[in-house]
Point group: C2
Chain length 187, copies 2
């Protein structure tokens, strides 16, 4: 069951087959059509999602209705509103499917329980969020330096296929640059 | 030994006295004078630091020599170059003392070993880096929205005493705003 998930865990944690089977019982599968919104501001957030197939964006709208993208999530990526998930606050973000999507999902409660039961599951979660933390730090520094060129290059290195899968306007909303600047960088 | 550290762990993890004593053997204490640089770009990074007393900044200089601040670290905060620590790459950052500082430090190897030995130590590390991840996400969104006012307010909420301890120019370098904008916000 869930071979992509099993392989994904094995990259960071040493799980026995029995442990993975226990973990797998906590996941369920769900499909969404392109454009579906799986989370929106104000929602209670009780699940974390693993992307088996497809692409999503996590974003919010500012007071002027302008879209700002926190994250793109494609195959083997995790997505949720983590602040809401960990604090119990309502979601601040939209999560929307940019393609047809196949997700696995686990509840926060099951995640907590697995961290208690299976030390290597907690190992996996620690290493995964550490990678996310480092990635966000790099993004903060790139935004502070206000260097559109290096932000563009960073995204291209991190997700080389993203530029084929996502409209330019969304790339611009992720990088925090205008579409004109993006077109210049892209040439 | 290390009562501040013990209290700090107890906020997120359930450690027995024996476990804490084992953990404490992996830490050592060091003092630095104001202005000391404890890490600089190109250095190998083998330790994580816990601030017992004082205040530090983690920053880098861009190609024009302009300073950009990733993080201020005060009492009960952890500091290192985490990307370098976890990947083995050389440091990209300076870490400098803004006051006289008392640090506890642990090697990456000991940290890894403690995560293996003591499940609750790994719990602590996971929850700590999760909080850091969420905080960096919020900072990314504030920078993307390019809203100096909310960035200023966020920092004031997060570290209310920081504004008494840090020169305005450094606050501006953290927020990614000019000193003029900062003075306007401060009034």
């Amino acid at each position: 069951m869930y071979p992509a998930l099993k392989k994904h865990f094995a990259e960071l944690a040493e799980l026995t087959d029995a442990e993975f089977e226990r973990i797998a019982t906590c996941f369920s599968e769900k499909r969404f059509k392109k454009h579906s919104i799986i989370l929106q501001p104000g929602d209670a957030v009780s699940h974390e999602y693993f992307v088996q197939k497809g692409l999503l964006k996590t974003f919010l709208l500012d007071d002027n209705g302008k879209e700002h993208i926190l994250q793109f999530s494609m195959e083997n990526w995790w997505v949720s509103d983590y602040q809401a998930l960990h604090t119990g606050l309502a979601s601040s973000f939209y999560i929307q499917c940019l393609e047809d999507v196949e997700l696995l999902y686990i509840s926060y409660e099951d995640r907590r329980r697995l961290c208690d039961e299976i030390h290597q599951y907690e190992r996996f979660c620690r290493l995964k969020v550490t990678a996310g933390f480092i990635s966000m730090q790099n993004r903060v520094m790139a935004l502070l330096k206000n260097d559109a060129q290096s932000r563009y290059q960073q995204l291209l290195n991190q997700y080389p296929t993203l530029f084929q899968r996502v409209p330019k306007a969304l790339i611009a909303a992720y990088l925090g640059v205008s579409r004109e600047t993006l077109s210049r960088l892209h040439r």
